[in-house]
């Protein structure tokens, strides 16, 4: 594994690079700035020496234990082994504290994280920050507002002294080498700019980041062969979803977070520290580049406005209206056509289908991007979503949805352990409308999961084998029925997998003859819409899939003539009214003067 390359030879590299760095004076400058000039310190650029933290008070440990057995034990387990009752249905699994291996740190690779039971200072107390803000992209929630500062320190006092078993925070042989990120002079942050991003784009190739994270950073470089220190499969981060970066909750677009992760590495995972083979400056360029590929309002534009985050969920805010714009002429077949680029896009939040069996506890597709437009004949939907692999069912393989994971399976049979062992099915995406939405008085509509027995839905499903079919849904417990006549009317304009992302463009005539079963599109109406997605490498098939909430497709009506004329009339009326008021006041004043 190339990603392991740096790990194996870390020591040698460290010495070599430290020597070079010192020779270049970078190390000296850093040490000067921190007032600790030690030419032979062997520290990587940007790091300073720290000390063992204060020992927690026994009372804090005692109090912390109570909190642990109320709040944490359910996932992390009675002995802190990451094997609580909830663990077997989670991927990533809850942290096993016993080894003292923690991912998000300001300390050098392999070291214990920063934790001081007396100092709840953000940025200087890694474990405290992790508990406070949770770990986005995992089940670990933020405990801010649930546990007081003191309680968080207490529970961490318990965890670090009682559940971390293989190492001790007060062991004098433990080193604490701290990334001096708050020291502005030493860090010399490079601002986010075109030049810096361009340099970063080159560096991620030179430093082999792309080998795991993929050429476009969608985490698709080496998604199936990586394992963490506990032997569970792990996938490289998708840089396009910075809100899923661990330790990014406060602000996913904060460059320092990426700089930190990149400098210190992620302990227990194949993500190495790049502290020894990059300069501080190079790390800023890389961090700026990684930040630049995170999705923003406009596709592929690193300087367009940032996505707004929902403070409750720390995910991009969703807008439940999917606007479809009227256009003149043909629908452009190229998704990169300017007409498509200029259309606003909407993010569709996707959760695992966990209502009916087989439930999808580990959901790999957590969002889709949708765009739509229509002309006088047809409507088009453009889907884009990140998927680390193209999955297509092998000929002859029967698709049988995998069974639901048992609540307690043991580590070896847990969902996390089973990742990457499933029979590969088709990647797929579907869009669903009520067949006769006109007949329901809003907000009433057929149920989100394939409608109901007497309230049918029209569902269009594309699969990675290139098929696009129309189905009738009559309830979650009934099989979808294909309608060949309706399938003929659907047109797959584009179905392409490129660098960890699917792009699917489909069209259908606005109106069809089968008004009972086919959805009919009318302008200016809110048409309830539900999205479904399947990741073939996750064993997704049938009801094991990702689902969205109800969205509304609306065909934007052309602007009516009244909307243009009336405002002008109103403005003219205002001018007349102004003249009248001022005249009246003037006459009144004159009369008063005369008196």
């Amino acid at each position: 594994m190339n990603c392991y390359l740096f790990k194996g030879t870390r020591k040698g590299l460290m010495i070599a690079i430290a020597a070079v760095a010192v020779g270049l004076g970078a190390g000296v400058a850093v040490l000067w700035a921190t007032g600790e000039v030690k030419a032979d310190s062997g520290l990587s650029p940007g790091f300073i020496k720290g000390t063992n933290p204060a020992k927690p008070d026994p009372k804090m440990i005692e109090e912390g234990k109570k909190i642990y057995f109320r709040k944490c034990v359910w996932c992390h387990g009675v002995d802190g082994g990451g094997d609580g009752p909830g663990a077997d249905r989670l991927w990533p699994r809850p942290r096993n504290f016993n080894q003292g291996t923690f991912k998000i740190r300001h300390t050098a690779s392999g070291e214990l994280p920063l934790f001081d039971p007396t100092k709840p200072i953000p940025g200087q107390n890694d474990l405290f920050d992790t508990v406070t803000h949770g770990l986005p992209g995992s089940a670990m929630p933020p405990w801010d507002g649930i546990l007081t500062e003191q309680q968080r320190l207490q529970v961490l006092s318990f965890v670090t002294t009682q559940l971390v078993k293989d190492r001790k925070f007060d062991d004098k042989t433990e080193t604490f080498t701290i990334l001096d990120i708050n020291n502005k002079d030493a860090m010399k942050k490079i601002p986010y700019s075109k030049e810096s991003i361009a340099k970063g784009a080159q560096l991620i190739v030179d430093k082999k980041c792309v080998e795991c994270h993929g050429n476009e950073g969608r985490g698709d470089g080496n998604p199936f062969n990586l394992k963490d220190d506990w032997g569970f499969p792990i996938q490289p981060a998708d840089w396009h979803k910075c809100w899923n970066f661990r330790g990014s909750r406060e602000d996913p677009y904060r460059v320092e977070t990426i700089f930190r992760t990149f400098s210190t590495g992620v302990n227990g995972t194949p993500m190495p520290s790049f502290a020894d083979n990059t300069t501080v400056e190079e790390r800023w360029h890389i961090a700026n580049f990684v930040n630049s590929v995170c999705e923003r309002e406009k596709e592929g534009d690193p300087f367009s406005p940032l996505l707004q985050m929902d403070p409750q969920t720390a995910k991009p805010k969703t807008n439940f209206v999917v606007p479809s714009a009227p256009i003149e002429g043909e629908i452009p077949a190229d998704p990169n056509d300017k007409k498509w680029q200029d259309r606003p896009r909407r993010i569709i939040g996707m959760g695992g289908q966990i209502t009916h069996k087989p439930r999808n506890f580990v959901n790999r597709i957590d969002d889709l991007w949708i765009q739509s437009m229509y002309n006088k004949n047809e409507i088009a939907f453009l889907f884009r979503w990140d998927d680390r692999t193209k999955s297509q069912v092998e000929p002859g393989v029967t698709v049988v949805p995998i069974e639901e994971a048992p609540p307690v399976a043991g580590e070896a049979n847990s969902i996390a352990a089973k990742q990457n062992t499933y029979t590969v099915y088709n990647d797929a995406v579907a869009i669903q409308f009520p067949a006769k939405w006109q007949e329901y008085a809003p907000p009433e509509k057929p149920r989100y999961l394939h409608g109901e027995e007497k309230r049918h839905v029209d569902l269009w499903k594309w699969e990675a084998d290139g098929t696009l079919k129309a189905y009738t849904g009559s309830g979650w417990d009934k099989p979808l029925e294909e309608r060949p006549g309706a399938t003929e009317k659907l047109k797959l304009v584009k179905g392409e997998f490129n660098e960890g992302r699917w792009t699917i463009l489909m069209t259908r005539p606005l109106h069809t003859d089968d008004k009972d079963a086919d959805v009919q599109f009318e302008t200016g109406k809110y048409i309830p819409t539900v999205f479904f997605a399947w990741d073939g490498h996750n064993g997704d098939a049938g009801l094991k899939m990702a689902v969205s909430a109800f969205y509304y497709t609306i065909l934007e009506p052309p602007v009516p003539i009244e909307a243009k004329v009336y405002p002008i009339l109103m403005a003219v009326g205002m001018i007349i009214a102004e003249g009248w008021i001022l005249r009246r006041r003037a006459t009144k004043r004159e009369m008063m003067m005369k008196k």
Binding site: F69, P141, T355, P407, E452, R585
Partner: protein
């Protein structure tokens, strides 16, 4: 803006909002009183009214979360406007004070008022035209759909072939050390509120709590969250958002049997006013046994520290 108005984060809380609005009005009046009487700064009624109006808009726009739709803010602001007019026109002096700057601008006797007059004469028609356009152009706002969160329960519910009458059914695991049913906020429940359900010597009640917790963290936390606050891993994708059990408006004000009915029958079992078509809440009878459902409910009350409402 968010630093100035930290948001409510746990959904709408009408009483809190009403309290805050009332407090702020009093503060505003007191502020102007202080400026006038203590510091000798006389703030004109028109300026007072305008600042109050702008402040109220910012409050509705930025303080409340989830954000109010514009149409709702417009209704609130209309009420605020009416209130402000009643206030400024309550006495003749106040009304004259309010009118004075407007008349001064209309008269345009000094250079400043003349410039203000010219600017407003030009800008006002544009403003009116723009508002008209804004109002008439085709809108694609999210539709407002009001859902009944706690619809009226049925008299009884049938789960796994067994009929439960909601008025009389009891959680068989809500028991004291002797195994007797122990109602809502009974002393025994209070004693064990801070108990450790993982203690090997835990009393039966706490052992049932532990079993309920295990079920919760194998099934429910994906939506309702590890904190039971409705912010689980999948919560962001769903609408309506999962119930927040730590909010005083959910399980704290419901009878335990109501919760039993909702858990067993799930979203699909809701009456129409509860939007059964949109809820992803599973009908848990498809996944759990009757005992497991009762235990998980026991756990939810224990963990949040609430007691089920009793039939009174």
């Amino acid at each position: 803006m968010s630093a100035l108005f930290p948001r409510f984060v746990e959904g709408y809380m009408p009483m809190q909002m009403l309290g805050e609005v009332g407090l702020q009005i009093v503060l505003f009046i007191y502020l102007f009183y202080l400026l006038d009487k203590k510091m000798g700064i006389k703030v004109n009624k028109l300026a007072q009214a305008t600042s109050l109006f702008i402040y109220s808009f910012l409050y509705f726009r930025y303080r409340i979360y989830p954000p109010l739709p514009f149409s709702v803010i417009a209704i609130y602001e209309t009420n605020v406007l009416i209130g402000i007019f009643m206030w400024v026109s309550s006495t003749e002096t106040s009304w004259q004070d309010f009118r004075r700057p407007l008349i001064a601008v209309a008269d345009g006797l000094t250079p400043t008022t003349r410039i203000t007059r010219a600017v407003s004469v030009v800008l006002l028609p544009f403003l009116v035209g723009f508002l008209g356009w804004n109002n008439m152009k085709p809108s694609i706002d999210e539709p407002i759909e009001l859902r009944t969160v706690h619809p009226a329960p049925p008299a009884s519910t049938k789960v796994h072939g067994k009929t439960f009458v909601l008025q009389t059914a009891r959680n068989p695991y809500r028991v004291d050390d002797q195994g007797n049913y122990s109602e809502g906020s009974s002393p025994i429940m209070k004693t064990y509120l801070d108990g450790n359900p993982w203690d090997e010597k835990a009393p039966p009640y706490l052992q049932y709590v532990r079993e309920g917790g295990q079920i919760f963290f194998q099934n429910c936390h994906f939506c309702h969250g590890d904190n039971l606050n409705g912010r689980g891993m999948f919560a962001f994708a769903f609408n309506p958002i999962p119930a927040n059990f730590t909010d005083a408006g959910t399980i704290a004000q419901l009878q335990e049997t109501f919760v039993f009915w909702r858990v067993s029958k799930g979203g699909i079992g809701l009456p129409r006013e509860g939007f059964p078509w949109a809820s992803v809440m599973p009908p848990w009878e498809q996944h759990l046994t009757i005992d497991e459902i009762w235990k998980v409910i026991l756990f939810e009350y224990w963990h949040t520290g609430y007691y089920p409402r009793t039939w009174d």
